[in-house]
C-alpha cells in the first residue's frame, strides 16, 4: 500500500469518469462550458480547503454554507454602496472569520460537539438572513461583475486564485509547524496537549480560518453574476464534506490532504454535468452525492476491517 493510496484511487476514479464521458458523452468536452464550470466551482474549492482543515482537526462545520450566503449578501450590499474592492475583500473575510470565531469559541472554549454547534449556527444565520432580506436578490453595480475584467479573464482569475490558495495551504499543512499541529490535534488531542500543543487554540484557529476562507469564497461567488442570490450557499457544506471525505480526509480526523480534497471536488463537480450529458434526470444529483459519500466511507471502512482482520 503506497502512502497516498486513497488519493490515488480517487484520481483513478476521476480518470475513469472522464474516460466514460469521453466515450459516451463527448459533448461534455467543450472549452467554454468547462471553463465556466471550473470558475463556478472555484469558490467551492476554497471552502473545501477550509472544511478539509476542520475535518482533519477532528471537527465538522456544517454552517459554512450559511456563512457563504451571509457573506455573499454582505459583500453584494457593500458593492452596491460603491465601496472599493480593497475594502470589500477584507470586510468579507473578516465577517467570515467572525462567524468562524463564534463556532470556534463554542467548540474549543466550551467543549461542545461541533456538529450540534454548527447545526445551530447554520440554522440561525440562514433564518436570520431570510428574515432580514426576505429572499431579495442584491443588485450589483455596473462593472462589479468579474471585478471589471472580461468574463474569460475573470474566470481564469478566480480559478487561479483558488488553485494558488490550495497549493499554499497544502504546503503550509505539510511544512509549517502550525499545519502539523492540526494533524496532531486531529489524531489525538490529549497526546497533542501533553506534547505542548494547545488543542483548544488550534481548534479555534481552524474554525476561524475556515470562516475566513468562506468569506473569500463568498466574494469570488459574488463576482460571477450581476446579482447576488441569497441562497447561494445552500447545500455547500454537504458538497464540501463529500469532496473532502471522498478525497481521503478521514472524518475521525488526523488523516488526509488538500490535493485529495481537490480530486474529490472535481469528481463531484463532474457528476452533475455528467448526469446531464448522459441524459439522466438532474434530480438524481443529490442522491448521487449521498451515494458517493457513502461509497467512499464504506471503502475506507472495508479497507480498515480487512487490515485489522489480516
Amino acid at each position: 500500500m503506497t502512502r497516498y493510496f486513497r488519493e490515488t484511487s480517487v484520481a483513478l476514479a476521476l480518470a475513469a469518469l472522464l474516460l466514460v464521458l469521453a466515450g459516451f458523452a463527448p459533448s461534455f468536452y467543450q472549452a467554454q462550458p468547462l471553463l465556466s464550470l471550473a470558475a463556478r466551482e472555484a469558490p467551492a474549492l476554497v471552502v473545501t480547503c477550509g472544511m478539509a482543515l476542520v475535518l482533519i482537526c477532528r471537527q465538522i462545520d456544517v454552517s459554512l454554507g450559511s456563512q457563504l450566503s451571509v457573506c455573499s449578501v454582505a459583500a453584494g450590499l457593500l458593492a452596491s454602496l460603491h465601496w472599493p474592492l480593497g475594502l470589500i475583500l477584507p470586510g468579507s473575510i473578516l465577517l467570515g472569520a467572525a462567524f468562524g470565531a463564534l463556532n470556534g469559541a463554542l467548540v474549543a472554549g466550551l467543549g461542545l460537539p461541533s456538529i450540534v454547534v454548527t447545526l445551530a449556527t447554520m440554522v440561525t444565520w440562514r433564518e436570520g438572513l431570510r428574515w432580514l432580506r426576505q429572499g431579495v436578490w442584491v443588485e450589483l453595480p455596473e462593472g462589479a461583475q468579474w471585478f471589471g475584467l472580461s468574463q474569460t479573464a475573470g474566470q481564469w482569475t478566480l480559478i487561479g486564485v483558488a488553485l494558488t490558495l490550495l497549493a499554499l495551504l497544502a504546503l503550509a499543512m505539510k511544512h509549517l509547524a502550525a499545519g502539523r499541529f492540526v494533524y496532531a490535534v486531529g489524531s489525538d488531542a490529549e497526546a497533542a496537549r501533553l506534547a505542548g500543543i494547545g488543542p483548544q487554540r488550534v481548534t479555534f484557529a481552524v474554525f476561524v480560518l475556515a470562516g475566513a476562507l468562506t468569506g473569500l469564497a463568498a466574494l469570488m461567488n459574488v463576482a460571477q453574476s450581476p446579482q447576488v442570490d441569497p441562497n447561494s450557499g445552500t447545500g455547500l457544506e454537504l458538497k464540501t464534506i463529500a469532496a473532502a471525505v471522498v478525497g481521503g480526509v478521514a472524518i475521525s480526523g488526523g488523516r488526509g490532504n488538500l490535493w485529495g480534497a481537490l480530486a474529490g471536488l472535481v469528481l463531484l463537480a463532474c457528476v452533475g454535468p455528467a448526469l446531464t450529458h448522459l441524459r439522466v434526470e438532474a434530480y438524481w444529483e443529490k442522491a448521487t452525492h449521498g451515494a458517493v459519500i457513502l461509497l467512499a466511507v464504506v471503502a475506507d471502512g472495508w479497507r480498515g476491517r480487512r487490515l485489522k482482520v489480516s
Partner: protein
Amino acid sequence: MKSPLKSILLRHETVLLLILTAEWWFFSAAGRNFGTLDNTFDIIRHSVEIGLLALAMTAVVLTGGIDLSVGSLLGLCAVLLGMFWRDAHLTMRVAAVLTLLAGALAGGFNAALITWLRLPPLIVTLGTFSLFRGLAEALTHGVDTFTGFPEAFLFLGQERWLGLPAQLPIFLLFAAGIWLLIHRTTFGRSFRALGFSAEGARYAGIPVERRLAMVYVLAGLTAALAAIVYTARLGQAKADAGTGYELLAITAVVLGGTSIFGGSGSVAGTLLGVAAIAVLNNGLVHTRQPREVAGMLTGLLLLAALSGSVLLKRLATVRQRWQSPPEATERTSS
C-alpha cells in the same frame, strides 16, 4: 446532604417545566387565540411528528451516536407511502405497513454501516441524509405530489377521536413504549451503558453491535411512522416532507437534558423539550412573528441549552473546589 425537595427542584426537567409554564403564560397574554383548546390541539397535532422523531433520537443519542437522516427518511417514507397507495394501488393499510418496513430497512442500512463497518454515525447519517432526500426527489422527479388520500386515513391526522386529536393516542402509546424500553427494560438500560463506555459495556456482556443496530433500526421505523402521521395531517405527500426535522429533534433531546455525548438522559426530558419547542413555535406565530424568527430562536435555544449545561457543570466544579479541603484529589481537565 441535599434535601429531597432541593433535588427535585434542581433537576433539569423541573427547570424545563418552569420554562414551559413561563412560555405558556407569556404567549397567552401576548398573543391572540393562544390559550384556546383548538389551538392547543393544533400544537399537539404539529408536535406529534417531531415528538416521535425526538423519542427515537433520544435512544440514539443515549448510545453516544447521532442520526441526521431521520428528517430525510421521513420525506422518503412519505413519498413511498404515496407511491404504494397511488401507483401500486395497494390499500392504505398495506401501504402503511410496507412504509414502516421500508423505514426499518433504511434504519437497518444505517445500522449496518455503523455497526458492521464501524463507521462513525455522523458521516454515515450525513451521507444517508443526502441519499434519502435525493431518492425522494428523484422518485417524484422533484415536483410530484401525492394527494387525494382516503377519508379514513386523513381522519388520523386531522380529526378528533374521543375529543382529542386522533394522532395523540398513537403518540402516547409510542412514548409510553419508549419510556418503558429505555428506563425499565435491561435492553434499553444498556443504551446508557453503551453511550457511557462501549468497551465497558462489552466487558459487561452487552452485545454492543446488536444493540446499536437496533437503535438505528428503531429510528428508521419511527421516521416511517412519523411520515404516516405527517401525510395524514397534511393530506399530501411531497419529497420535501420533514425538512429540518432532524435539527428540531436534536434540539428537543438536548433541551430535555440528554447529554449529547451519550450516557445520560431521560424520555420525560425529551417530551418536555418537544413541548417547549412546539409552544414556542406556535406562540411566535400567534404574536405575529415571522417564521424565520422561530427558526433563529430554535438555533439559539439549542446553543443556549448546550452552553448552559456545560457552564453549570463547570460552575459546580468550581464550587466543589472552593468547598472541599485543599488536600482533596485534584481533578484532571474536565
